[in-house]
Symmetry: C2
Subunit: 303 residues, 2 copies
């Protein structure tokens, strides 16, 4: 098995779903530590209204403070053209847009239909191309919707094809509520790779039901080579308060090490970055790997 | 994929590794709830010195209080002939013996070599056969030893073959420190099935590094159909204090449901049993599935 690329989403998708709002300075420190650990693609902020997402306020400051690092890409989430323009003004070089595979989720989360969201992103794509900015596409609810339950692989494939067709270089398939299992993961990927090259598909798994690592392994066996993860498992699940959200980057790295797959990340430095941000949030790490290895280091118990 | 049999180890392997010692009465209540949830093979106690394992004191009372239930087997761990005789006296009908695949672990945990432990079990087997009692064999450290690191699949196969050869009806392969990943799981099973029929192999995975469900899935694909698990993830990891031990039964059931594999367990009743025992222990459940589904039920947050 060849190399895997990790997309570290802790500083955006993670922190956006934590109760505590951290300053742009702390978020920059986290991002620098994560890049020091070897991560090369890092979500660094979101250009959304701070009224809706206070945790991402000051994302422009974050981008302005982040240095240019060879081989490192800092990315931002943008919901629309206004967000894109703010991202460009802050010096951002890659952005992500997000659509849902569930109509109900699109309505509740984006306040418009899937069709309307895609139409809006076409304008974003044109403007981004003019500015020389790469765009990644997120699809949410790929194996289940918190409002309507099961989601068909064909529905996910259709949205993925639309985003890829309009120019997204990569489609990240998000199991937003973490209900997927390996069989569903395989069915999902079988459908999506018919319309998007598998090399342009990424897996974004949540560990809400403890299935993320098994699903990632199934996706690896189905040739997916890009995975999103979140240091210390940052980010809860807004649809199951108190439950787990993003899969921990530490677990992903541990799995890849066990499989002998290259990834370029230093697990010890990653765990240190996770301890830094967990202390800032005043909560224990959500990573089992971090807990086990920290206990072995003889450091203070973290539970 | 056909049906899977779960061996519920929460009331023994789980509680034995919890700080708080619970009364035999509470343990009987837990076992009854677990059997009500549909579990049919349940570890109920251990006939070991209460000086070494105070959590299992009164196992004779537990067995005397447990009713005969059609289709349900209550089992006990026995370290030697003395333990077996106590188990027989308490009316126990199935016992388990345990050997290590790592010489260092055998010395530290059993105070004798692997060879010596196996020789001792031969006497146990003879006496058990005379008494009409089935014996299961545990092998620990199958993918790693807390003292010496990596463990070769061939070493595990040798111990497994010895236990099977002396009459154990099933060999449970224990990833005691939870360091295994799916590739190692496959290599382990490839070696063990050369000397023991795969239908007589069981998987006993720990979730210390969050790999248990992925390893179980790999074992399922390698034809293993019996898995040990622990309600609410009872039982920590004595080699990484504060870290996770046994895989939660709830996660195993959730995985099997997602794969469409029969198992006969009611997930809701299982979660209720987990809540009962977690409350007795005064600690949150270790099951992510339980946390997610309890949050959806709108019950009190358990974190």
């Amino acid at each position: 098995m060849d190399a895997v690329r990790l997309v570290e989403v802790g500083a955006r998708d993670g922190l956006q779903n934590e109760k505590l709002t951290l300053s742009p300075q702390i978020r920059v420190q986290l991002l620098q530590r994560l890049a020091d650990a070897g991560l090369q693609t890092l979500e660094a902020g979101a250009f959304v209204s701070p009224r809706w997402v206070p945790q991402m306020a000051g994302s422009d400051e974050v981008f302005k403070a982040l240095p240019v690092r060879p081989g490192v890409t800092w990315t931002a989430l943008v919901p629309n053209l206004t967000g894109l323009q703010a991202a460009i003004a802050a010096g951002c070089q890659e952005v992500a847009v997000f659509a849902a595979a569930s109509e109900a989720f699109s309505q509740k989360n984006l306040n418009c239909s899937i069709e309307q969201s895609l139409r809006q992103y076409q304008q974003v794509m044109v403007r981004a191309r003019d500015a020389g900015i790469r765009v990644r596409g997120y699809v949410s609810c790929v194996m289940g919707c918190p409002f309507t339950g099961a989601v068909k692989p064909e529905a996910v494939a259709a949205v993925s094809a639309a985003l890829f067709g309009m120019g997204c270089y990569e489609i990240s398939l998000g199991d937003t509520i973490g209900t997927g299992t390996p069989a569903a993961t395989r069915a999902l990927l079988a459908a999506c790779r018919q319309v998007v090259p598998v090399s342009a598909l990424a897996g974004h798994f949540h560990d809400t039901y403890g299935m993320a690592i098994a699903n990632i392994h199934a996706a690896l066996e189905a040739d997916v080579r890009v995975f999103d993860s979140s240091v210390a498992g940052l980010g809860g699940c807004p649809y199951s308060p108190g439950a787990t959200g993003n899969v921990a980057s530490e677990e992903l790295v541990y799995l890849l090490d066990g499989l002998g797959v290259n990834h370029g990340v230093d697990l010890g430095a990653l765990i240190d970055a996770g301890e830094f941000i967990s202390a800032e949030l005043g909560r224990p790490t959500g990573s089992r790997v971090a807990r086990a290895l920290l206990a072995q280091r003889g450091l203070s118990a973290v539970h």
